[in-house]
């Protein structure tokens, strides 16, 4: 009896591991199959003239377009330069928007008087579809970097601000009382209790905020620009070149995924103190 139990317990983890690995393989294969089916189906449908290439484009031509951009450059300069312009607008706007959002969110969360004063203004600002401000900003700040950065700041700010505000208000009252009794000044309470505590909320907002930042930069370029990925999309559209639009979209997706990965890394570092969520998948 004991020998049997011993054997099963020793063999169980190995068997589980095999099952987990096999399951992962099946998931990955299915995913690959889906991609191949979609892209292959599209390519074949175009070649068989089931759908119109002029309107819908063609996967192999998207690859060709990417090759041209990479090796021969675009009409407005090298591809790297276009990516960098868009990235620059995104990152500068993101940094400013996040800083403003965190500072003002925490300040308003900590000072009820300010929160009461600003409440109606913030509600009004938030109800405006802010993306249309892009047209105004092009008028105000021209076709260069500044108009895009301002649009990005506005989009990012609100995403971060509301979370920082909520996070600062939802801090456990006991933690604040404890810090005060232990001898913390209001400033120390803010920096050592409120900000770390609100960090969970703030970091959660960064994922969405970065998406908004990219959207802001690209829409800004759409409205009026001399460089950037948004401009490439706009030119491709103007030239009835759907493959160009898809190619630029692919590049943007890669940038967004890379940023998402970096933010997740930051999240893991800054929120190490949180108990880990469920220990891996419990259903296996």
């Amino acid at each position: 009896m004991s020998a049997v139990t011993l054997e099963t317990t020793a063999a169980a983890p190995a068997r589980t591991r095999v099952r987990v690995r096999r399951r992962r393989l099946v998931v990955r294969t299915s995913q690959l199959a889906l991609v191949v089916a979609f892209i292959g189906g599209w390519e074949l449908a175009v070649r068989a003239k089931l759908i119109d290439e002029f309107t819908y484009g063609r996967p192999s031509m998207v690859v060709a377009q990417l090759k041209t951009w990479i090796f021969d450059g675009t009409e407005v300069g090298s591809l790297g330069a276009q990516i960098w312009v868009t990235l620059e607008e995104t990152l500068i706007g993101f940094a400013i928007g996040v800083s403003l959002g965190v500072v003002l969110g925490v300040a308003l969360g900590r000072i009820p008087f300010l929160a009461d004063v600003f409440d109606p203004f913030i509600k009004v600002m938030n109800s405006i579809p802010r993306i249309v401000l892009g047209s105004i900003f092009v008028l105000w700040f021209g076709l260069g970097l500044l108009s895009k950065v301002v649009l990005v700041v506005v989009l990012v700010f609100f995403a971060v601000f509301f979370n920082a505000f909520q996070g600062a208000r939802e801090v456990d009252r006991n933690l604040i009382a404890n810090a005060r009794i232990l001898g913390a000044s209001p400033r120390k309470v803010t920096w050592q209790v409120v900000v770390p505590s609100a960090m969970t909320w703030i970091i959660a907002s960064l994922h969405i905020a970065f998406g908004f930042a990219l959207i802001g930069a690209i829409v800004g370029e759409f409205i009026g620009a001399q460089h950037g990925l948004g401009l490439l999309i706009n030119e491709a559209r103007g030239a009835f070149n759907p493959n160009g639009v898809y190619a630029a979209m692919l590049i943007i997706a890669v940038v967004a995924l890379a940023a998402e990965w970096l933010i997740a890394l930051l999240e893991r570092r800054l929120l190490r103190w949180r108990p880990s969520q469920l220990p891996s998948s419990p259903d296996i």
């Binding site: 456990d172 006991n174 933690l175 009382a177 404890n178 810090a179 005060r180 009794i181 232990l182 001898g183 913390a184 000044s185 120390k188 050592q192 209790v193 770390p196 505590s197 960090m199 190490r272 103190w273 949180r274 108990p275």
Partner: protein, 271 residues
Amino acid sequence: MADETPAVELRDVTKRFRSPDGSVYTALRDLSMTVAPGEFCAVVGPTGCGKSTTLSLVSGLEPASAGTVHIDGVPVTGIDPRVGFMFQSDAVFPWKSVLANVAAGPLFRGRPRKAVLGEAREWVRRVGLAGFEEHLPHQLSGGMRKRVALAQTLINEPRILLMDEPFAALDAQTRQIMSDELLRLWELTRPSVIFVTHDLEEAIALADKVVVLTVGPATVKGEYRVDLPRPRRVQEIRFEPRFVALYERIWQALRDEVKLAYARTAKAVAA
């Protein structure tokens, strides 16, 4: 003893709260009590009677609506550095390590980091957490987190230690171990203690004096001196005849209040 200035004195204290809907709720009414220097005073009363409110008044977290609170004969106007407070729920900082949590108080007060860290290590050891300095609170058990909270409070060497049902969330065994631990550490510096609990057994086992409060708005119903010898062992003291006699006497006073409180909640539930 009689002409000595009490460490804590509440004189005819009333505390009213305004609830969000505008109605006024009176938690304490004309409550007077004193705690002598180095005295361990337990405050018992039915659930929700306002026991915790007395602590927030003494700590300076809340002002009294009427009456005065004195510490060492001086009126309380804000948070007093001589006061330490251990809360009912977990109030250790979840993002700080055990060591950083214990060191938080002196660092908040602007003392040099190096000296503070050495002292914090000593306190971590004293509460029996040596080897766990770098652990985060979520990696500890409930009892261990209470030890962190205890060290965090005691490192400031408070002259007055306020405790709001600090061990209520623990299981019975851990609770007794923590009670013994508390008495051992209390002997080291002998601050005056106000220990709020609804557990009469715990109150008698720990305290020099038990104050029984009435149902809310709370006022003092009676004070009972606990003349059991120290050092005590919380697990064993319960079986001593003197303990049992005291328990029966104080329970007489407490029972009526508990019944009244229960009748009220029952009525509230029915309505």
